[in-house]
């Protein structure tokens, strides 16, 4: 059990993460529609430090950073969630196919997984977005096409352990076809693992999107994602406007840490080192 947080600490992590996430998501859902998504330009109010009128200050075009960051978080989370689901579906399909078919197809698919994992994800992502520039779909593809390999590995090992179970033998001796075993027995059994990996992927997807947008290669500039806001804020920092970096970053870090916290608690509950198998 060493290395796993226990008792009170687990509960504190779970409730802290849940509370942060609910607060941030509610704010991101409610605040931008009420206050005009923070895209109104006010040239008489540029780079105002944080104060009562503007809790996070204003940016170089006089836009309110509080509303804009929340609107950006909304976009970032949406893009991340969709790409996480896409890459989980892709990875599960490959993982189930590799684990269930075995033999040469397994070896080939796993070498493909190795090849994708050998290229640093951000770099491969940069190659993809640079060739399909400036669209939301390109960013989502860039995340999905780089992150599926991890899911494929997890799902494959899950299927490999399922293959040894008696109920699969029973299904096969009962005359179930390969496809039926795949659809009725393997796919439903890997859903919990796949769902968990989708949630674990969300923070990575957010970082990936934010990094791409920050480099100017991600979402189109008119979409105020956190990465675009930070990219805009880079030059303003040199003018002393530290709040343009600090507040959006804090929002980003708090959200991703909250999601990872929830996912970690979930993982520890769902996969308690496969104790169920030992007791069988």
């Amino acid at each position: 059990m060493r290395g796993r947080a226990t008792g009170a600490r687990v509960r504190a992590r779970l409730w802290g993460s849940l509370g942060t996430l609910v607060l941030v998501v509610l704010a991101a859902l409610i605040v931008p529609p009420l206050f005009g998504s923070g895209s109104t330009v006010h040239y008489e109010a540029i780079r105002l430090p944080p104060g009562w009128a503007h809790p996070f200050g204003t940016d170089s075009s006089g836009r309110d950073l509080f509303v804009r960051s929340l609107a950006g978080l909304r976009i970032s989370l949406l893009v991340a969630a969709i790409s996480a689901v896409v890459s989980t579906v892709l990875g599960s399909a490959v993982g189930v196919a590799a684990g269930a078919l075995g033999g040469w197809s397994d070896r080939l698919l796993m070498r493909a997984v190795d090849a994708v994992n050998a290229v640093p994800h951000l770099l491969l992502g940069i190659v993809i977005v640079s060739l399909y520039r400036g669209s939301v779909v390109a960013v989502m593809l860039s995340i999905a096409l780089t992150h599926w390999a991890t899911v494929a590995r997890i799902v494959r090992s899950e299927v490999l352990s399922l293959r040894e179970r008696p109920y699969i033998d029973a299904a096969i001796s009962g005359g179930a076809s390969r496809l039926r075993v795949l659809y009725r027995h393997f796919l439903p059994a890997v859903v919990p693992q796949a769902a968990l990996s989708a949630v674990l992927l969300i923070p990575h997807a957010v970082w990936h999107e934010t990094a791409l947008s920050f480099l100017g290669l991600g979402l189109p500039p008119h979409m105020a994602s956190i990465g675009n806001i930070l990219g805009d804020g880079r030059s303003a920092v040199l003018l002393g406007a530290w709040w343009l970096i600090l507040f959006p970053s804090l929002l980003l870090v708090a959200t991703t840490l909250a999601v990872s916290g929830i996912a970690a608690t979930w993982r520890d509950r769902v996969v308690p080192r496969r104790r169920s198998e030992l007791s069988l």
Binding site: A115, A118, P120, H121, V129, L238, I245, L257
Partner: protein, 334 residues
């Protein structure tokens, strides 16, 4: 022949076999990556002729455009284009970078040393942090140092490198004025060791710190399990000093998985380097990735992707070789 030399000889052949097997794996992977990137480029809506002409494409006649297409080899099929590029790379012709207006080989030669300087310094910073903080935290488990290190480690895991870089610039360069904001030297001053060290300090620290949380937490974890092993209890029972017990008995056992972990984290190191070099305008290969991507400079981008992939494969190979050489229990035939 003494048993030890026989052992070391078989160990050497084991290492040689490991290296050969990994090379045999690396060649198809590199080929696959190159081909995959080429397919992506072929499927993209981007047309290199437009880049060749720029705005002038509006004035160019259709015959001229067709002529340029033929000259650039764009009329051939994807496979023919790939083959032409691939054989060129094998014979040492890496092509010409459009965004840098230089041969790709020269871009590599000029920028690789700076990237190596930054990544190696960053990695050393991360490893030193990991060994010192991880050991101290595990040794005094539950103490305030342990709590601070663990909390900081978990928090830092959630902070992307470029955020760390921007905050570091805001604090140390602009707020306190201790270190320069960006670049390799001050504007107009010559390249000197003092200048480079001054400009290297902040990016290398940021890179090192952004990579360290996984390493620190890992060292702490394996130190905890190694501190409870029998030989450590035995060393304590023999009355050895705390320093000897921790540094000579517990630490070496904990180091082995650490070496493997460093090898496995090279992809993240590359990612971190791309972001840190870009933020600090460091004139390395990773910053060239961003320049090349912004300009859709395909020849440069493809080579940089291959270089990064090769670095990842080399990193994991070196880590595994080190593991085999360091620990007689590790089998090289895994």
């Amino acid at each position: 022949m003494t048993p030890t030399t026989a052992g070391s000889r078989s160990r050497a052949t084991a290492v040689a076999r490991l290296v050969l097997r990994r090379l045999a794996f690396a060649v198809p992977v590199l080929f696959l990556v190159a081909f995959g990137v080429f397919l992506l480029a072929a499927a993209s809506p981007f047309d290199p002729v437009y880049q060749y002409y720029g705005v002038q494409i509006l004035n160019a006649s259709a015959a001229d455009v067709a002529d340029v297409r033929a000259r650039l080899g764009l009329d051939e099929g994807v496979l023919a284009q790939f083959w032409g590029w691939f054989t060129g790379v094998l014979s040492g012709d890496l092509g010409v970078s459009r965004s840098m207006r230089q041969p790709v080989a020269r871009v590599l030669a000029e920028r690789l040393p700076w990237t190596l300087l930054l990544t190696v310094t960053g990695l050393v910073v991360a490893v030193v942090f990991a060994l010192v903080l991880g050991t101290v935290a595990a040794w005094r488990q539950g103490g305030w140092i342990d709590r601070v290190v663990t909390a900081l480690g978990h928090a830092l895991e959630g902070i992307p490198p470029f955020v760390l870089a921007l905050l570091a610039i805001a604090l140390f360069s602009l707020g306190l004025g201790w270190l320069p904001v960006a670049g390799l030297t001050d504007a107009g001053s010559a390249l000197s060791i003092g200048q480079v060290v001054e400009h290297l300090a902040l990016p290398a620290l940021v890179l090192g710190i952004s990579q360290s949380p996984w390493l620190v937490l890992h060292v702490r974890q394996s130190m905890l399990s190694s501190l409870s092993q029998d030989h450590v209890t035995g060393a304590r029972a023999r009355g050895l000093g705390e320093r000897v017990v921790v540094l000579r008995h517990a630490l070496p056992t904990a180091l082995l998985p650490f070496v493997t972990l460093i090898g496995a984290r090279i992809p993240e190191l590359v990612t971190g380097t791309v972001l840190v070099e870009e933020v600090f305008s460091w004139p390395g290969l990773a910053a060239a990735v961003v320049t090349a991507a912004t300009a859709v400079d395909y020849p440069l981008l493809a080579i940089l992707t291959l270089v990064a992939t090769a670095a990842v494969l080399l990193g994991s190979l070196l880590a595994d070789v080190a593991a085999v050489l360091l620990d007689p229990r590790v089998s090289a035939d895994g």
